[in-house]
């Protein structure tokens, strides 16, 4: 430190600037983390509703008749891979490798899109068979819980598009990097929520 001070005083000034930036950064990250925690509470409420209504099928079909486990496993693995690639986005951003960041973001986008497409396929299939959210309390709770997660993923997809546009226009400047890491947190969080939807709603719900 003292070496730098004697060599180039300008850099220490910059360091100090960078340091304040960094602390602001960590505050933003913590603020977003706090939002994610409250979002967890939203999902917990929906999980609680689903758990309470899981047997209220009103004479309609239950999870064991409706859920196609290999299909849902595919969705799960797609989302897990996208979460992993999202980590690659951050790694590329650390190296300031703009094109790698864009490529990785595009892959995350496509995987997210594939996930949403599969989910919508499942939903339309259910509705066409007459098992929509109107059928029973169980299905209302199911569509609300899984649909809320899907809505979050859709918002994430919009966010990716905005981030890609910003990177192309502004480059990897500090505010863009900050938003990228917020997005990464969001995306990892959605995968964490999906673990519980996959395990508790689909896997345990498909048992008699």
């Amino acid at each position: 430190m003292s070496m730098e001070l004697t060599d180039k005083p300008v850099i220490t000034q910059k360091d100090r600037y960078v340091k304040t930036q960094e602390t602001d950064h960590s505050k933003t990250l913590f603020g977003f983390w706090a939002y994610l925690m409250t979002d967890c509470v939203l999902f917990a409420s929906l999980f609680a509703v689903f758990a309470v209504l899981r047997n209220n099928t009103n004479g309609g079909p239950g999870g064991s008749e409706l859920f196609d486990l290999p299909f849902v496993l595919t969705e799960t693995i797609i989302l897990l891979i996208s979460s992993f690639v999202c980590g690659m986005v951050l790694l590329a951003a650390q190296r300031r490798a703009r094109n790698y960041v864009l490529a990785a973001l595009a892959i995350v986008f496509l995987l997210g899109l594939a996930f949403i497409a599969l989910e919508l396929t499942e939903f339309t299939h259910l509705v066409h068979e007459g098992n929509s959210w109107r059928r029973s309390g169980f299905l209302s709770a199911f569509f609300t819980l899984v649909g809320t997660h899907g809505l979050h993923i859709t918002v994430g997809l919009l966010w990716i598009m905005v981030m890609m546009a910003q990177i192309m226009r502004k480059g990897l400047i500090d505010p863009v990097l900050r938003r990228l890491s917020l997005f990464a947190m969001f995306w990892h969080f959605l995968d964490v929520v999906w673990i519980f939807i996959f395990s508790l709603v689909y896997l345990l719900g498909s048992m008699q």
Binding site: V52, A93, R178, D191, S199
Partner: protein, 126 residues
């Protein structure tokens, strides 16, 4: 890039993230997901056993992703993120377990006479 000579703040996340962390997290998560899937599709254990196993695997995967994807272990200083997470877990526990507890009691206490008769018969047969 000219930027390279400057001392840039380490990317947005608080500490340097590593590829090995993501690979470990991904491999473990995939293994845990497949394990839960196989346990349910084999249907070899009792119902209670499957529920406990799947819930344990889900919580393990939650911890794995928090550590390897969200880098919760790398937090320095006062661990506010961890604290917020623990608080959230408490709230979630109260909401989910509390709802189930209350609603099950309500279900039991508001049985119609016919349901009550059926319930008592089912208890007799045990």
């Amino acid at each position: 890039m000219s930027e390279k000579t400057e001392k840039l703040p380490q990317s947005a996340s608080e500490s340097r993230v590593k590829l090995s962390s993501y690979i470990a997290g991904f491999t473990l998560s995939l293994a845990l997901t497949l394990a839960a899937y196989v346990i349910v599709s084999q249907n070899a254990y009792g119902k209670k056993g499957i529920i406990v196993a799947v819930a344990t695997l889900a919580i393990t995967q939650f911890i794995v992703q928090m550590l390897f994807f969200m880098h919760l272990g790398h937090e320095s200083g006062p661990r506010w993120k961890l604290l917020a997470l623990i608080f959230m877990t408490g709230v979630v526990f109260i909401i989910v377990v509390g709802s189930l507890w209350i609603m099950d009691h309500l279900d039991y206490n508001m049985m119609s006479p016919k349901d009550m008769q059926e319930y008592m018969d089912s208890q007799d047969s045990l």
